[in-house]
């Protein structure tokens, strides 16, 4: 279902992941979250920005286990655990955060 924001249309796959990475803007992330009934705060953005940087470097969206470990290393142990990440992204940190970050659904994602 295409996403419509400010009169523009963006292609997505059937699960709502952006078809073209290049389309992504922070406003799109906010709009996707609003559609899910969520509000993005600084803690969310930290993870979203981390995912975008990870994708930039490796060209893949990390699995949740890899994300958790890497977040812990970068942002500290209190954030590198699944409890914290699931509180931020209750639909699954890899899945939901990747969607807002404009990334494809992670390979082997649960």
């Amino acid at each position: 279902m295409p996403l419509q924001i400010d009169g523009k249309t963006y292609e997505t796959d059937e699960e709502g992941y952006l078809a073209n990475l290049g389309d992504w803007t922070p406003e799109l992330a906010t709009a996707m979250a609003t559609a899910d009934g969520a509000e993005l705060e600084d803690n969310h953005w930290e993870v979203i920005n981390f995912l975008r940087e990870y994708y930039e470097e490796y060209q893949i969206a990390p699995a949740v286990r890899v994300l958790t470990k890497a977040i812990g290393k970068k942002l500290g142990k209190d954030k590198g655990n699944s409890k914290y990440l699931y509180e931020l992204f209750p639909y699954g940190p890899a899945k939901q955060a990747c969607k807002y970050a404009g990334l494809p659904k992670p390979t082997g994602c649960v």
Binding site: Y58, Q59, V66, T107, G108
Partner: protein, 144 residues
């Protein structure tokens, strides 16, 4: 049979080997293999990955796919260390037959948690005989 190694939970850990034998582009084998490896890693299996024959080209440095309109997925191999995949075997004869050496391949590393997160190489150069012995040790071998 070996005892289950470092697998977590109550699941069974098996020795999986993924053999990559084809050039990276032109067929979808290399990319599909990479995806399957990443999925298997999520299930905490004992994984090794082999690059032999034209498969050694998959790890070549400086890949540029612009001219063929395909995504350059080679940066993803550098993430294998994050997935705890550090047994990556390169067949020596395959490199030599193509006039290549390890220096032509991208460096792949992992961080050893038990050794103060020291960065170590994941690439292991093995001869054809050694590789045959490694294959014989596996529970499951998948060839791409």
């Amino acid at each position: 049979m070996d005892e289950a190694g470092n697998g977590g939970g109550n699941g069974v850990t098996k020795k999986f080997m993924y053999m990559n034998r084809k050039a990276p582009y032109g067929t979808v084998y290399a990319l599909e293999s990479l995806e399957v490896v990443l999925i298997a890693a999520a299930f905490e299996q004992d994984i090794s990955v082999v690059f032999a024959d034209d498969g050694v080209y998959q790890l070549m440095k400086g890949q540029d796919t612009e001219g063929i309109g395909m995504k350059n997925f080679s940066p993803a191999y550098a993430a294998l260390g994050d997935y705890d995949i550090n047994k990556i075997y390169i067949e020596r004869e395959s490199l030599e037959e193509r006039g290549l050496s390890l220096d032509d391949l991208q460096a792949l590393t992992w961080e050893d948690e038990d050794d103060d997160w020291k960065e170590k190489s994941s690439l292991h150069l093995v001869g054809r005989d050694e590789l045959a012995a490694l294959i014989a040790e596996q529970d499951i071998v998948l060839s791409f």
